[in-house]
């Protein structure tokens, strides 16, 4: 569905001159700084996939999305989206894609939401009956009715984002680009957004590319991650694999009965680390070496256990480590 080959995009800006008369010298300088927003990125995404596109601020995520949607032209490389080159067949491509930029709105600020949606329906060549059917369905999923007649500038952020998602999905595009769709939303609104994205993918088979800084979005919605940093792809594969490379361990969190004994655990192969606090044990272990059942049996045999939990490493700590080290472990 989406084929990206060796794309790069650089931006030029006049070099800032500092020191005496710096402003004036900046004005006359002919030197430019070249910023490589995207250096060399390739990937392909199949129809119906949900892909998380991750990276730190300034890694090149939004620049890639803008090239995919035909807004920006890459400096080099090729892109085809559903068989079209986005910036050459801009208008035909537009019919295939829906775009949500979390920090902006495509809605008309001064018009009631319903008017914006009607304009968008016409822009995307929808028949009235088709528009009304789709609006009714989106209304059911996103509960738009209470604010359909409110001017967009008066909507809360959560309402506005629901409006923007409606606008992007109204004409049933095959592909949805979501650039930080949950930014700034509260817990309830985030959850609603995720539920919606999930349903759209499952029911309509919409291909979704999602950039976010909220890794709960990724864990909930995607199986595959593309991780970029400084304009290069660092990792492209399943979420589980990335976690496995970084944190091949699990943790067993044990809550002990109050005032009970807290004896030492016997030494066992596969236990990496034990963190002990009164009433609580956190045992980090390698599931490849020691079976979870054996470990639990050993703990229960020697300790008065009231609760047990096996915890997977959080994606967040994995991502923090990648961003800080600037590379992905092989």
């Amino acid at each position: 569905m989406i084929e990206v080959r060796d794309i790069a995009r650089e931006f030029r800006r006049p070099r800032q001159v500092h020191g005496p008369l710096g402003g004036l010298r900046t004005f006359f300088t002919r030197e430019v700084d070249i910023v490589h927003a995207v250096s060399n990125v390739s990937f392909s995404i199949d129809a119906g996939e949900v892909v998380g596109y991750l990276g730190a601020n300034g890694a090149g995520k939004s620049t890639t999305i803008k090239m995919l949607s035909g807004i920006l032209v890459p400096t080099s490389g090729t892109i085809t989206v559903n068989g079209l080159v986005p910036w050459e067949d801009r208008e035909a491509n537009a019919l295939n894609i829906g775009v949500v930029f979390g920090q902006r709105t495509q809605l008309w600020w001064d018009l009631p939401l319903i008017d914006s949606l009607r304009i968008i329906a016409k822009l995307y060549r929808m028949e009235t009956a088709h528009y009304e059917r789709n609006l009714a369905r989106l209304d059911e999923l996103l509960e738009l009715t209470p604010f359909l007649d409110t001017p967009v500038r008066q909507l809360s952020l959560g309402q506005r984002m629901r409006g923007d998602l409606t606008a992007a999905m109204l004409y049933e595009p095959k592909i949805l680009y979501l650039d930080e769709p949950t930014i700034g939303l509260d817990v309830v609104a985030k959850e609603r957004m995720r539920g919606f994205i999930e349903r759209v993918n499952q029911e309509s088979g919409t291909t979704i590319m999602l950039t976010t800084h909220d890794l709960a979005d990724v864990e909930r919605l995607t199986k595959r991650i593309i991780f970029i940093d400084k304009g290069l792809v660092l990792f492209d594969g399943p979420v589980a694999e990335l976690k496995h490379r970084y944190a091949p361990y699990r943790e067993l969190h044990v809550t002990l009965a109050p005032n009970g004994d807290q004896p030492e655990l016997p030494q066992m192969p596969g236990i990496i680390d034990i963190e002990e606090t009164p009433g609580r044990l956190e045992i980090r272990f390698d599931p490849a070496t020691i079976a979870v059942a054996d470990l639990i049996a050993a703990v229960v045999a020697s300790h008065p256990v009231t609760d047990l939990a096996i915890v997977e490493p959080a994606l967040e700590s994995v991502v923090r480590e990648i961003v800080q080290s600037g590379e992905v472990r092989r």
Binding site: F11, S62, L72, Q103, D110, K122, L123
Partner: protein
């Protein structure tokens, strides 16, 4: 045919921008007051410049005042806001959405500009009496001049929209548009002939102004209205306008294509 498929889209954009004009009616009314003051001042100045003579250079004072009144009424009416719209949308990064529509951005702008004009139409009812009181209004000398004026006016609208679009597209290269806009408004405002008709300009200035497209916005249609068309016949005058409309369309096609390759979206 994407042209036919896009007609409902353009119609909806026109409808939306008509609504915007009603929302912004306060600034439209301020515009009428400004035009009224300009008309009044020009009437006073030109009456005094005629120094009691009925006619200067073959132009009777009354005809001169009608020219000035119609010119400034028309300058008020034909002021496409799309130039500022483009600059704002590029500055705020909203242009990204405009570029991901199945309808080309230039055609969206033309539809928006058409809606603006239609939305202002009811305001003409307010503007006309103001102009009549502060200036001088008269019917065209013949029905041919009236019909010619309407045709010429529509081409003038198109040229005004094209010029606004070209100026707005400069924002793709630089966002510092304020100074540029000031110069443009001053030069453009003078070169339309709304303050001084071309026939009273010194030769060198007139020849320079005649090489520019601005006279096609005001001077050409209004001179048809008062019955002394710019190039001697109203048909050649309109041909000149059409020439400029086509040239500017070509300029837009080139600038637009280059702008797309220049697009930088502000912000993340």
């Amino acid at each position: 045919m994407s042209f036919v498929a896009n007609i409902p889209a353009w119609r909806e954009l026109i409808r939306a921008s008509i609504r915007f004009q009603f929302m912004y009616r306060f600034s439209v009314i301020m515009g009428i007051l400004l035009a009224g003051v300009t008309i009044y001042l020009l009437t006073v100045v030109w009456t005094s410049a005629y120094a009691g003579q009925d006619e200067v250079g073959g132009i009777p004072l009354k005809l001169m005042l009608v020219y000035l009144t119609i010119s400034n009424l028309q300058s008020w009416y034909l002021k496409p806001g799309i130039g500022f719209d483009i600059v704002d949308r590029v500055r705020e990064g909203q242009i990204g959405f405009d570029l991901t529509r199945p309808v080309s951005y230039p055609s969206q702008l033309i539809a928006t500009a058409a809606g603006d004009q239609l939305g202002m139409l009811p305001m003409v009812v307010v503007a006309l009496p103001v102009a009549a009181v502060l200036g001088e209004l008269a019917a065209p000398p013949s029905w041919q001049a009236g019909v010619g004026y309407l045709a010429s006016f529509i081409i003038a609208w198109f040229i005004a929209v094209e010029l606004a679009m070209i100026i707005g597209l400069v924002a793709f290269w630089t966002l510092e548009m304020t100074g540029f806009m000031m110069v443009y408004n001053l030069v453009g405002g003078f070169a339309t002939g709304a303050l001084v008709p071309l026939w009273f300009m010194p030769d060198l200035l007139r020849q320079a102004v005649q090489l520019l497209p601005f006279q096609s916005i005001v001077y050409v249609p209004v001179s048809i209205y008062i019955g002394i068309p710019a190039t001697g016949s109203m048909y050649t005058a309109m041909a000149l306008q059409v020439f400029w409309a086509v040239v500017l369309a070509g300029v837009i096609a080139i600038v637009w294509k280059r702008a797309l390759y220049r697009t930088v979206i502000q912000g993340g």
